[in-house]
Amino acid sequence: MFYREAGQFKTSYASDEAVFPIRQDKIGIIVILLVAFVAIPLFGNGFLLQAVMIPFLIYTLATIGLNLLTGYTGLLSLGTGAFMGVGAYACYKLATVFPEVNILVWILASGFVAAAVGVFFGLPSLRIKGFYLAIATLAAQFFLQWCFVRIPWLVNYNISNAIEVPTRTLFGIAVVGPTASPQVRYLIVLTIVVVMTWIASNIVRGRIGRMWMAVRDMDIAAELMGIRLLPTKLLAFAVSSFYCGVAGAMMVFLWYGGAEADTFNINQSFFVLSMVIIGGLGSLLGSYLGAALIFILPILLRLVPAELGMPLHPATAEHLSFIIVGALIILFLIVEPHGLARLWQLAKQKLRVWPYPY
């Protein structure tokens, strides 16, 4: 009902294919960005930034990464956690071997290492499909996790056998490490995530995105149209892993401030996968919504009772949140198998045709 599109007409393909062709959407996104970049850092407290926003954004990026692979290209992967790990460890090595180069450069660069590894483990997709491939990606998960544990070189032979994030600065401001303020880290994470989301949307709306989706929907037809399957799939693995890698690096350097091999265990993979599914396969918006629901929900489950003055035993709360999240996942799948993104789509459609029902 708030969509008043009369008089919004397109006189060029460029404007017709803009990210937000409808004026009302443009306004909306601008408002959101203002809130994210200005309001939250100004008024948000440490907890909000450190325990909610930063992890939410990082998971969003990982979810986008997995979505590019599973949602857009139809290749189910259970190795997300490991690819995030690759990013984290790569970033750590690079940052410690070349301390003079700015850390942010390395955070992004680590994505390329992850991409390379991703491509390698994507090779089986030449021969196998579907759940067989999914299981193959578990190979990556377990092997890489094993490497994190067994190769002390990765952590510079720390006795703790864990990553310890050093303090690094940008223009004299500490951006990573113990002394970096949540505000600074939040803004960095936000910037990276927003930019990479924009890039992702460019990719999926363009030739490459269409090739991915073609392969997903009907690989035979795609092949007979001259789309080479293996390179297309491998590219998907590369880009996806890049995103996961960067997410992993940020997770360690801008959120935890340290990590050991177990941080990137299989549960991490499933966690992200559930975000993709709940958010909606093949939707960037969905990646945000999914991450929000799956990550923020447990937090609420922990906070709300406490606020109500009946604090649960942490363990109990933990178990409860497991039960509820599990139930919710099933519920959502039943209500809307195409995820939150689809729900939003439907709602938006309703608003556009209001007061008509269709």
């Binding site: 060029s12 393909y13 460029a14 294919e17 890039i199 460019n202 990719i203 709306r205 363009g206 030739r207 490459i208 269409r210 090739m211 989706m213 073609a214 997903r216 929907d217 009907m218 035979i220 037809a221 795609a222 092949e223 007979l224 149209m225 001259g226 789309i227 080479r228 590219l235 093949g282």
Partner: protein, 266 residues
């Protein structure tokens, strides 16, 4: 949409020739020693009873199946077997017996996807969707819109094809094939399961494609009426063997063909 590159082949010359092609799955023989040719600019029909190996033949021509024996000559180069990518790049496009569209993509994206081979701007530009990438995108969008206009499917431009009625899906699929600007267009039962009106539309489009863009067309069709109207020459397969080849009228009179359709065993 510009006229396809003739590759130095004049109208009337042989564009594609299959010689002694045989194909078998395990023990099952699908095609045995079939030879025929397709001349540039003609509409060539491949007919025959069910299980005659018609679709397999198309699959051989665009490299989806690799025959055990025989040669395929396309645009003067002879191969033992085509490769899908080579075939597509060489200008062979096709539609499928039971529509093989990208169901969750819109009509527009389906047809745009077929331009993949013709779009070359680097990944670098792609990620910014700016400069060359955007220009390329727009220029191809224009071509695609011309096809949409040509097939009169403007109104379903933004609808996911999975939601479309069968007849329209067939039309979109034709559009997708056209977007490859093929020299040789393979249509696998383009009118299967259509009502009379839809059939007439589709026939009109096939003819228009053929004379507007001079595209060579090979089609499989069961509706004899349609075949007789559309095609310049007909090749008849039965149980994987060629039993007749010639103009519609010659074929119609051919005894072997009549028997085959009456189901008399050989």
């Amino acid at each position: 949409m510009r006229a396809p590159s003739g590759a130095g082949i004049a109208a009337g010359d042989v564009l594609l020739a299959v010689e002694g092609v045989s194909l078998a799955f395990g023990g099952v023989k699908a095609i045995t020693g079939v030879s025929f040719d397709i001349r540039k600019g003609e509409i060539r029909a491949i007919i025959g009873p069910n299980g005659a190996g018609k679709t397999s033949m198309l699959n051989v021509i665009n490299g989806f199946y690799h025959p055990q024996a025989g040669r395929i000559t396309f645009k003067g180069t002879t191969r033992k077997a085509m490769r899908p990518h080579a075939a597509a790049a060489g200008g062979i496009a096709r539609t499928f017996q039971n529509v093989a569209l990208f169901k969750s993509m819109t009509t527009l994206d389906n047809i745009m996807a077929a331009r993949a081979l013709k779009m070359h701007k680097s990944f670098f530009w792609q990620i910014f969707r700016y400069g060359p990438a955007l220009r390329e995108e727009v220029e191809h969008r224009k071509t695609v819109e011309e096809i949409i206009d040509f097939l009169e499917i403007e109104h379903i431009r933004r609808i996911p094809v999975g939601k479309l009625p069968y007849g329209l899906q067939k039309r979109v699929e034709l559009g997708r094939a056209l977007a490859m600007e093929p020299d040789l267009l393979l249509l696998d039962e383009p009118m299967a399961g259509m009502n009379l009106e839809e059939k007439e539309d589709m026939s009109r489009f096939v003819i228009d494609v053929n004379n507007q863009y001079g595209t060579t067309i090979a089609l499989i069709e069961h509706d004899m009426g349609v075949v007789m109207d559309l095609s310049d020459r007909v090749v008849v397969l039965d149980h994987g063997c060629k039993i007749a080849d010639g103009t519609p009228n010659e074929v119609k009179k051919d005894q072997a063909v009549i028997d085959a359709y009456l189901g008399i065993a050989h």
